[in-house]
């Protein structure tokens, strides 16, 4: 729950921690998040370099992130120190996580630099981590929090609150809730001539969402740097799934998805001693989803309704210990165990429920050397995976050792310019859907491997000429995916195989500038740009020689905020260049490409004491675009929010 590193990062107002990081880190603080025209964590992630968000549109649409072309299943999603997992699909839908209580969002390429972590934190190709913060004890101010009400286009209402109370120096509790409702009916232009222009105006139907997330936290501070924390989190949502925009369709889809999720996690952390530090965590989570579809084609079912039910459970334990013999060396060892199961039940399935159970053990051994100029890190992760299934033979057991090495070096004594490099070899296990539940699952799927190589520079200028703040970084990388788990189509149904050898080369640039004028005006500018080339090199792959779908060569974002006393104005731009859809253009028989788009957003915020009011205009230019082909994004729309902070 307490990502304490957030407090340690700013030394003399500069992000030294991030500059020293051997594995690239990007951070959006709570203040920066408030300037991004964001409502959920996916909106924040769109502003990190190297990130492609696959946004299926609408307020309740699925949003997943892929880092440096590796795919959503390779991105670990971490909430308050514990990695979330979805063994069924391998992806976590980030639209579920509102930014209301979030105190910071980190993106780590490879893994976090802090080696006192659960082993699971070393087991993804990249990690997106977001956390909440319990206020420290202050005798004069024990109750804090906020109440917010947001409303916007398409019938959107989003009330939320947070109450955090420090009952004593030792005990603190907080409760929060975030509810959202929207009808999601937005107009868009459907181009029925993919070769040219022939637009018809349509309305997005069956795109409504109702959701509620509630959370309760308790912290018991045993002494300074030693605490136990407990979190319970509940999530409910019911939404329509509008599906792809199909030409000439006259009726809306009837697909609906209801999610009921719950998790509970308890953490113990002890950093009292400078030599020996440790943490233990335990987590239980339960994800239940129900999918329904009414279709005349299901004429033999009651009410012509198809019902698919899925229930996933996870039990997770982790322990990690770090030994620091002196200020330069640190060694850590972590041990994780998790048990994941999935039950499914459908009134149309002709394949019996496999009821897989996966036990995963992870052991990580890490070492680090740090001095003023040099940081070297290395770790070895051991993964053991054991699976059982109720029907037939389960997927075979897997045992793997995978390493990571990293280095960062300050080139000059006087200047904060560092060169850094890392290499990481990691894999992801096939999901339950891949193995057992696709039209035809395939139990002999091998894990999908990624190798990442990165070389980069970071530069922090503590006393820049014109600005108050100047930070930049540039990283060049080469990633290789082998045994890519790919859906293959055939008759009568589709299935999954390990086909695909993908080469990804790219470069991520980040620039952060700050300027204070007259002591009353503050200007912040964040820019990032990503260049990326992907190529499928597997001769057996149907996309051999093509670039990966939805990985644009050029993409970037810009974020500008200007604060003058009580008033704040901001502008955000998200840009993606031409990208491949994976489909073909029927006239040329060449790969179908999507045109570049720019998503412009602006806001104006006024603060008066504890109140603030924020008006936003999103997609200011009313651009008709989509991120995923035939999943249109809304045109110009509006949001207004009122926030009371205490």
């Amino acid at each position: 729950m307490h990502n304490k590193t957030l407090k340690e990062v700013t030394v003399n107002g500069k992000n030294i921690q991030i500059a020293r990081a051997a594995l690239p880190e990007q951070l959006k603080t709570e203040e920066e998040i408030s300037t991004l025209n964001a409502t959920n964590v996916a909106d924040v992630a769109k502003h990190f370099s190297g990130v492609t968000v696959k946004d299926y549109g609408g307020i309740g649409g699925l949003k997943t992130i892929s880092v440096r072309g590796l795919g959503a299943a390779h991105t670990g999603i971490c909430y308050d120190g514990v990695l979330m997992s979805d063994m069924q699909t391998g992806q976590v839908d980030l639209s579920q996580f509102s930014i209301e209580n979030i105190s910071g969002v980190f993106l780590f390429n490879g893994q976090p630099n802090d080696i006192l972590q659960p082993a699971r934190m070393f087991s993804s190709a990249s990690v997106l981590s977001f956390s909440t913060q319990m206020p420290d004890y202050d005798a004069k101010h024990t109750l804090s929090g906020h109440i917010a009400l947001k409303a916007g286009s398409f019938g959107m209402y989003n009330p939320s609150f947070l109450f955090a109370k420090n009952l004593s120096e030792k005990i603190g509790i907080s409760i929060s809730a975030n509810g959202e409702k929207a009808n999601g009916k937005y107009n868009f232009l459907s181009n029925i001539n993919p070769q040219g222009h022939n637009y018809i105006e349509k309305t997005r139907e069956n795109s409504d969402v109702t959701s509620l997330r509630t959370e309760q936290n308790l912290i018991y501070r045993i002494r300074k740097n030693e605490f136990i924390s407990l979190k319970n989190n509940q999530y409910y949502s019911e939404r329509g799934l509008p599906g792809a925009d199909i030409f000439y369709s006259t009726s809306a889809t009837t697909d609906r998805l209801r999610d009921k999720n719950f998790f509970s996690q308890i953490q113990y952390e002890n950093k009292v001693s400078g030599y020996l530090q440790y943490l233990f965590s335990a987590k239980y989570s339960s994800l239940n989803s129900k999918f329904t579809e009414i279709n005349p084609n299901y004429s033999t079912l009651p009410n012509e309704m198809r019902i698919d039910n899925f229930a996933q459970h996870e039990y997770y334990l982790t322990s990690a210990v770090q030994y620091r013999p002196n200020t330069n060396f640190a060694f850590s060892s972590s041990l994780d165990w998790s048990r994941n199961d999935l039950f499914s039940n459908s009134n149309i399935s002709f394949v019996a429920d496999a009821s897989p159970v996966r036990n995963t053990g992870l052991a990580n051994f890490a070492g680090k050397y740090i001095n003023e100029r040099l940081t070297i890190g290395a770790n070895m992760l051991y993964t053991l995976c054991y699976e059982t299934s109720q029907t037939g033979t389960p997927s075979p057991n897997k045992y793997k050792w995978t390493p990571t090495v990293s280095i960062s070096y300050k080139l000059f004594n006087q200047k904060e310019i560092r060169i850094r490099a890392f290499y990481k070899n990691i894999f992801r296990l096939p999901t339950f859907t891949d193995l057992y539940y696709h039209d035809f699952g395939y139990k002999d799927l091998r894990p999908e491997y990624t190798k990442q190589f990165n070389v980069g520079f970071t530069y922090i200028e503590p006393k820049p000429l014109f600005f108050n703040e100047l930070e930049c970084s540039i990283d060049g990388y080469y990633n290789r995916i082998t045994d890519k788990i790919t859906v293959v189509y055939g008759m009568p149904f589709s299935t999954v195989r390990n086909i695909g050898l993908v080469d990804i080369k790219g470069c991520d640039l980040n620039l952060k500038l700050g300027k204070a004028l007259n002591k009353r005006i503050n200007i912040q500018l964040n820019l990032n740009y990503s260049l990326q080339f992907t190529e499928d090199k597997d001769k057996n792959s149907v996309t051999f020689g093509s670039s990966l779908p939805y990985t644009p060569n050029n993409s970037g974002s810009a974020s500008l905020s200007i604060r003058y006393m009580k008033l704040e104005l901001g502008y955000n731009l998200l840009y993606a260049g031409t990208r491949n859809t994976g489909s073909i253009n029927t006239s040329t028989l060449k790969p179908k490409l999507m045109t570049p788009y720019g998503d412009h957003n602006i806001y104006c915020k006024y603060s008066l004491g504890k109140f603030s009011i924020n008006g936003e205009i999103l997609n200011v230019s009313n651009t008709n675009y989509s991120i995923v082909d035939y999943y249109p994004m809304p045109g110009r729309n509006y949001r207004l929010s009122v926030n009371y902070k205490f």
Binding site: N198, S249, F350
Partner: protein
């Protein structure tokens, strides 16, 4: 005159320009309906002209300034028009066969297959119906219930036979027999489980159907329903798809490469079966190594007796191979994804 390979088709208009397209006019050639991929809106209509050797990758898009839609399921030529069932878009397109221009387009739930007789087009709908459409008014006169899950259909013995494969929930194993003059179902013939595959009739009134079983312990079958007696017998030949021309059934088959889920290289065959004498004439008439992708459909040009084998990889490409009636390679051309139906146009 043999043409071994075909130059790439003339490309259509540059994206962004609304200029008229340089597509050759239709004279003698072949239309290929390409299914496209589910929910990708990339069904298309290929036209290949015999005289010039050129054509259009998507003549429907060229001539109508709009795409064909999602999942082009079936196409027939009746009179001077092409009728196209676009399953994913739930539409029927009536297209002038001489130009490729759509004369009428209307919504109809889940159209799967088309047959025609006596000025009517019969549209099988997967939700369990057959609709009778008048070809002069384009109106649906009448709809009857069959099913569940009716897929392919064929007219023989002045009757309409519709194969009920079952819905997604439960597989069926019947063929609905419909009297065309009353347009009502008169009986159901029981065949093997899940008759989802190809269905054709010979000139003697026998109906042939491919069933898929339950994809595990109940295998698929190739069966004949005898004209008059409605007796069902098994034909012991593995069939992925087939077409009947005269007394010959041309049957294509292949082995699946388990690692790619496509046809294993060099295993695609065309078997010839004599429907009159009920015996196999030839195990394989083509050079299997010449077929690169997975076979998807087969047709025979009624005038030249050339065999057209449509092949695909299901997601990015398609190719049509033309063989003469002895199986010798003639030429090939690119098509869209999953060429599902081939229709021949002769010179006026």
């Amino acid at each position: 005159m043999l043409i071994t390979t075909v130059s790439p088709f003339l490309t259509s208009c540059d994206s962004g320009k609304d200029t008229q397209v340089k597509t050759p006019e239709v004279s003698a050639g072949v239309f290929v309906l390409n299914e496209g991929q589910f929910e990708k809106n990339n069904a298309s209509l290929t036209y290949y002209d015999f005289t010039t050797g050129f054509g259009s990758n998507d003549i429907f898009l060229d001539k109508n300034n709009r795409g064909l839609g999602d999942t082009g399921q079936d196409m027939i030529k009746y009179g001077s028009k092409l009728y196209i069932a676009v399953y994913g878009s739930n539409t029927i397109e009536v297209v002038d066969a001489a130009s490729g221009i759509s004369l009428k387009s209307f919504s109809l739930q889940s159209p799967r297959s088309l047959t025609a007789a006596n000025g009517k087009v019969y549209i099988v709908q997967f939700d369990g119906h057959v609709a009778q459409m008048d070809t002069t008014t384009y109106a649906i006169d009448k709809t009857i219930a069959v099913g569940p899950g009716p897929n392919k259909s064929v007219i023989a013995n002045a009757k309409l036979y519709v194969a009920n494969s079952g819905s997604f929930a439960a597989k069926d194993s019947t063929i609905s027999v419909i009297n065309l003059s009353t347009f009502s179902e008169t009986k159901k013939i029981v065949v093997n489980l899940n008759p989802y595959g190809e269905m054709q009739a010979d000139s003697y009134g026998n109906v042939y159907i491919v069933s898929n079983g339950n994809y595990s312990n109940i295998p698929g079958k190739f069966q004949r329903i005898e004209a008059g007696t409605d007796k069902v017998t098994d034909i012991n030949i593995p069939v992925q798809g087939f077409v009947i021309e005269g007394d010959n059934a041309y049957i294509f088959n292949y082995s699946v490469d388990f690692s790619t889920w496509q046809a294993a290289a060099g295993t695609s065959t065309i078997t010839v079966y004599d429907v009159k004498n009920e015996k196999k004439l030839n195990d394989n008439i083509i050079t299997s190594s010449s077929v690169e992708l997975t076979p998807y459909s087969i047709a025979v040009n009624p005038i030249t007796k050339d065999i057209y084998l449509g092949t695909t990889d299901y997601s990015t490409k398609g190719k049509m191979y033309c063989f003469d009636s002895t199986g010798k390679s003639k030429f090939s051309f690119s098509t869209g994804i999953s060429p599902s139906k081939t229709v021949f146009i002769s010179k006026k």
